[in-house]
Amino acid sequence: MTFAAGDDVVVSSREHSGHHRTPGYLKGRRGTVLRVYARFRNPETRAYGGDGLPKERLYLVSFELSEGDRVLADIFEHWLEQAA
């Protein structure tokens, strides 16, 4: 599933053992896609000597923090779901 800027998304809260770059504090959180970046090698296999292929799309996603402040984080496509 690909996303575009402005799309509402949810970060997957699935279990994952091993190296990955999705911060725990954002799992299950709802956010909005701000930017669509390029596709990059997947760190989840690169970390173990793999080639990281196929590449995964990276997005800059905005999350509400408090009092109108936000956290912006880079999240790989395979960790994002369409918000209900």
């Binding site: 770059r21 504090y25 990059f40 990276l58 923090l65 402040d69 936000r70 956290v71 880079d74 999240i75």
Partner: protein, 204 residues
């Protein structure tokens, strides 16, 4: 010159655990033929040859030249190349602009990702657990400890550098700098202001 005193043997006693680990890793990589010592030395040289002065040049030019700023915000790598800087192919560098309404600060909650190609090695506090955890839970509190009190109507955007993009902040140009040239402006641009935890001070 006489040499009549005994030297301490080259020893690793008292070496911090992280240093011992790095040395052991380097020894292994060399032994297995993955890297040569020369590769490691060159890489370290490259890293420490970069300083915040590189990023400061980019910021000062952006302050002077609105069209350059637009280029920097859309493609920081190309803008850096225009100045003769070496932003590197990877990771990708992205510049974010602080304005009167929006204040960006950068963190890597997972480790210590940092725009090393434009700022050099990160400061210790950037790698510390307290900064990494509190930046995303209490950013205004962290900024206050850096001496920066933002108005309530300024939106704080904490940028968590979790993957293949490295962020550099273009801070607000301080007041009272209208008459300064680019080099004089660059002197005002501090490392911490390009991480977004402080703002450049006006000239004294």
């Amino acid at each position: 010159m006489s040499h009549d005193h005994a030297h301490e043997p080259v020893t690793t006693a008292g070496e911090p655990p992280a240093a011992a680990r790095v040395r052991a890793l380097a020894d292994l990589l060399v032994e297995k033929g993955v890297l040569e010592r020369e590769d490691i030395r060159r890489r370290v040289d490259l890293l420490v040859s970069r300083t915040p002065a590189d990023g400061a040049r980019l910021v000062a030019r952006a302050w002077m030249d609105p069209s350059f700023k637009e280029r920097a915000l859309s493609d920081a790598r190309r803008a850096a190349l225009e100045l003769g800087l070496e932003p590197g192919e990877s990771p990708q560098v992205v510049a974010l602009e602080n304005t009167d309404d929006v204040h960006h600060m950068v963190v890597c909650t997972l480790c210590s990702c940092y725009p090393k190609a434009l700022l050099g090695p990160p400061p210790d506090w950037y790698k510390s657990l307290p900064y990494r955890s509190r930046a995303v839970s209490d950013p205004r509190g962290v900024l206050r400890e850096f001496g920066l009190e933002l108005d309530e109507d300024v939106e704080v955007r904490v940028v968590d550098s979790t993957a293949d993009v490295r962020y550099i902040v273009i801070p607000r140009r301080p007041p009272g700098t209208e008459g300064l040239d680019e080099e004089e402006l660059a002197v005002l641009v501090t490392r911490d202001s390009m991480v977004g935890v402080t703002e450049p001070a006006p000239p004294s």
